[in-house]
């Protein structure tokens, strides 16, 4: 730690930090942009330029720890996982030479053509969700829209039955809490059971598709494996599908929830701009990803002794790249980096999907879903407003940032009041 500031009191799961990590990270970025946190044994890197340097340099940095639990799982939960959970490096956490073939396998089945064919299906499903709540006085947008929509999208792509969506989404939430939260031991055991159940579900699902492929991404991976067994085997497919069964929706749920909150906050001015000019929506998606990206941190391990932001980092050291800080770095986004503007010109330079060789393969799907969400919500419920006085809380999780709920009045607060769903405040 020689030459590196040490943050003894920095707690990623402090409720104050979970509620607003940007202020705390911004203070560190302006004073000591690289610092060491003993409680999690990671260096934290906060500046855009330093994180960009790490993401593009595979000679110096390994992704091996990208999906590891932030803090060790307790022995009892570990015992549960040892009964069959057998994950190996896949996409997010694989290095060369394994990463290239894995990435190529997924790219070959997750094509622009497949996404184009998915768009009308997703639009119809999402429109049905909005139709279901547009006349209700008050609705939790996370529960009624941001949660089910990305799950449907990801699971449709993979081929999971729609009837399993709720179960899979619940398992996914627990996966995130076990990996990036700080659960008491009894909850870790219960959550580990869910992780194991999800793994076994995916194993059985892949075995089914292996025996009788259909028209879905998992079956395409099976066909690819038969054509190129040296590139991909059945176990690899289980790992890829298991990985996508979380990454394919959890982050988009959070993006949509946080994004709609940002649009509707501060007097709805940014929301109203989209209502009046839908051509701004694609850039608004980028600005949401920049301003309220769903992944606050991503991790790497130093393969060699190196230097980041003037701070020496020894080989073997673990680093957290604070995307949530980089995407508000005034050096990159200007003095108003902490402002949310749907017409920001450089919004697309955000690091929400990473950058370089590990750029998130789900980025086109995430962008598509968020764009569809904004198109449908601004056109079908243009008068939507936040329910005043609600308590905004985030999932108690260090790495993923997502709202637990977002109460909105689809036809406006006055309508909700008149329907008796709110106290008469006016």
């Amino acid at each position: 730690m020689s030459g590196c500031p040490v943050a003894h009191d920095f707690d990623l799961l402090d409720p104050v930090v979970v509620a607003d990590p940007f202020t705390v990270l911004g203070e560190w970025r302006s004073k000591t942009p690289v610092f060491y946190v003993p409680s999690v044994d990671h260096y934290v890197v906060t500046r855009y330029a330093d994180i960009e340097q790490i993401l593009l340099d595979r000679d110096s940095w390994s992704a091996a720890n990208a999906s590891s639990p932030l803090t060790p799982v307790c022995p009892a939960a570990q015992e549960v996982l040892s009964r069959g959970f057998a994950r190996v490096p896949t996409l997010n956490n694989a290095d060369p030479p394994r990463h290239g073939p894995m990435r190529k396998s997924v790219l070959s089945v997750m094509t622009p053509r497949r996404l184009r064919s998915l768009e009308p299906v997703l639009r119809e499903y999402a429109a049905g969700l909005v139709e279901g709540f547009r006349d209700r006085p008050v609705v939790d947008l996370v529960e009624s829209f941001a949660f089910p929509f990305p799950g449907f999208a990801a699971f449709s792509l993979l081929g999971f039955p729609a009837s399993d969506t709720d179960m899979l989404k619940d398992w996914s939430r627990n996966r995130v809490l076990l990996t990036y939260g700080r659960l008491p031991e009894d909850e870790q055991v219960a959550t580990a059971n869910d992780v194991l159940a999800m793994w076994q579900y995916v194993e059985a699902f892949v075995a089914d598709r292996w025996a009788s492929p259909r028209d879905d991404l998992t079956s395409d991976l099976v066909r690819l494996s038969r054509e190129k067994p040296d590139q991909l085997n059945q176990f690899d497919i289980v790992n890829i599908v298991y990985s996508m069964a979380l990454a394919g929706h959890e982050t988009t749920t959070n993006t949509i929830g946080s994004g709609v909150f940002a649009l509707l906050a501060h007097g709805r001015s940014q929301w109203q701009r989209l209502v009046e000019d839908p051509s701004l929506i694609p850039n608004a998606v980028e600005e949401i990803l920049r301003f309220e990206g769903p992944v606050l941190y991503h991790r790497r391990i130093a393969k060699v002794d190196t230097v980041v932001g003037g701070v020496p980092i020894p080989a073997g050291a673990k680093v957290m790249m604070a995307f949530g800080s980089a995407d508000r770095d005034p050096e990159e986004f200007g003095d108003d980096a902490d402002s949310f503007r749907v017409d920001r010109r450089d919004a697309e330079l955000h690091l929400a999907f990473g950058k370089g060789p590990h750029l998130c393969l789900g980025a086109p799907l995430g962008r598509l879903e968020t764009r569809l969400a904004l198109e449908l919500l601004t056109s079908m419920v243009p008068d939507m407003e936040l329910v005043p006085g609600q308590s905004i809380t985030y999932v108690p999780n260090a790495l993923f940032r997502g709202l637990t709920a977002l109460l909105v009045a689809p036809r406006g607060v006055r309508h909700a009041e008149e329907a008796g769903a709110l106290p008469q405040a006016r």
Partner: protein, 74 residues
């Protein structure tokens, strides 16, 4: 010799492309622009990239993080 005149606006735009796409002048793990879906003419060493974020002349042996597999890629 006269001093070269740099068009600052075009230079900035080129820099932006490099940044947005993580564009580099060498292949990555054997993948290169020539084998990318968006490379217009694989028989040429230089060709147009029609990915919406680039829309630019690129080299056949370059790579960027928007690389997508051609359907005829072996």
């Amino acid at each position: 010799m006269t001093e070269p005149v740099v068009d600052d606006a075009r230079f900035a735009e080129a820099q932006r492309l490099v940044k947005v796409a993580a564009l580099r002048g060498s292949p990555l793990d054997g993948d290169r622009c020539r084998t990318c879906l968006y490379y217009l003419d694989p028989s040429e060493d230089l060709s147009f990239c029609w990915h919406e974020k680039l829309q630019s002349l690129v080299g056949g042996d370059w790579w960027c993080h928007f690389w997508e597999m051609r359907e005829d890629d072996p």
